[in-house]
Amino acid sequence: MPSLKEYRDRITSVKSTKKITSAMKMVAASKLKKAQDRAEASQPYAKAIAGILARVTKSMGDCEHGPKMLVGTGRDKTHLLIVVTADRGLCGGFNGNLVKRAREEAHNLIADGKDVKIICIGRKAKDLLKRDMGEYIVASYAELGDKGLISYKDAEAIVEYIIDKFDSDSFDVCTLIYNEFKNVLVQKPAVQQLIPFTLSEESAKDVEEDSLDMQSYEFEPDEDVILEKLLPRNLGMQIFRALLDSAAGEQAARMTAMDNATRNAGDMINELSVQYNRARQAYITKELIEIISGAEAV
């Protein structure tokens, strides 16, 4: 049985752990608020660009002479996976689940005989993938944004790299894997194809709705030229949105994880206190017995 001092030491250490986790929880909560606001602020632009894009692609019809980014390279050989995680741990299964999903995706592609290339965004992605998938990683980004505040410029740098690789025919299909921020309690790994471009169901529906006045749309300059500029923009926006979603998700996941840790620490302190008191009582009883039996012997 541990001595009284050992119990006391353990209780003190769990208490200070509890202090740390509850502080981290509060920090995460305030950062979450900020991250959520930023994710919300990017909504109007995302919506507007999706609207324009839907209209332009719709007016182009099903023709196959569009830009490569829209119709693809005509091949399906090399896949580029962009894996977005956080830079830091201590946020529950946030990074682990995502990387697991990415690994699954990569294994499936490899099993189908495709070539796989991976871009890691966030330090954890690289840390977790480099052991078994190191040979596929072609680029990695970490510590994005100024003090964790991601700006559009960060996404732009990544897009520049992707477009450069696409233009030099380094890959055919580009897929984004990131944690979608559903709500504070749920972040779900999401897989989204970026190149060739596919209309999301939501914006496709929007276009259906206003398809009546479709005919009257004019394009200046013509559709091809606009698309040429619009697609990289949209790519940037999708990645920017994924980064913001992931940043908000990270804080939410950390908040939940730290809340659990704080509660567990509390339980542990209660349990240890009971054990400590029991041990203390046993010690006192033992001493009393010693004194009494000592007195009786006299």
Partner: protein, 142 residues
């Protein structure tokens, strides 16, 4: 036509925030193929923008607001006009001396950088800086 029918909804949005969302009587936007004015009941147009100044008249014969955009797109329908700007700043907030310095620095940089990608990047910045400078001073810098 009543006053409200003469106005339309006008928005400037950037990737990270909404800059302006208001009613407007007329907006002049710097399209890639030349500036054009938008009034209420304009025919539906999607156009790309070059770096330049968006001029917003909230009401007829009123003072205008000038906002610099570094490029992007505009989506016009009969009741709405949405500008998707890469970057947008109010012209009043631009400082001429700072911009002159910036243009000078970038021109020097352009002579020094090597590689086509870097060169294109600096050139793009230079075009934007020069457009900003023209927006502030009212003269054309090319």
């Amino acid at each position: 036509m009543s006053e409200t029918e003469k106005q339309f909804n006008f928005e400037i949005v950037c990737p990270d925030r909404k800059i302006i969302s208001d009613k407007a009587w007329q907006v002049v936007v710097p399209g890639d193929d030349g500036d054009f004015g938008v009034l209420a009941n304009h025919s539906a147009v999607v156009s790309s923008l070059r770096a330049g100044v968006v001029t917003i008249y909230q009401e007829e014969n009123e003072q205008c607001v000038k906002v610099f955009v570094s490029g992007g797109f505009v989506d016009v329908t009969s009741t709405n006009c949405t500008i998707l700007a890469d970057e947008a700043v109010n012209v009043n907030e631009l400082k001429q001396d700072e911009l002159e310095q910036q243009v000078q620095n970038l021109t020097e940089d352009l002579g020094m950088v090597e590689g086509d990608a870097d060169k294109a990047r600096v050139e793009k910045k230079l075009v934007i800086a020069k457009a900003k400078l023209s927006a502030v001073s009212g003269h054309l810098f090319v």
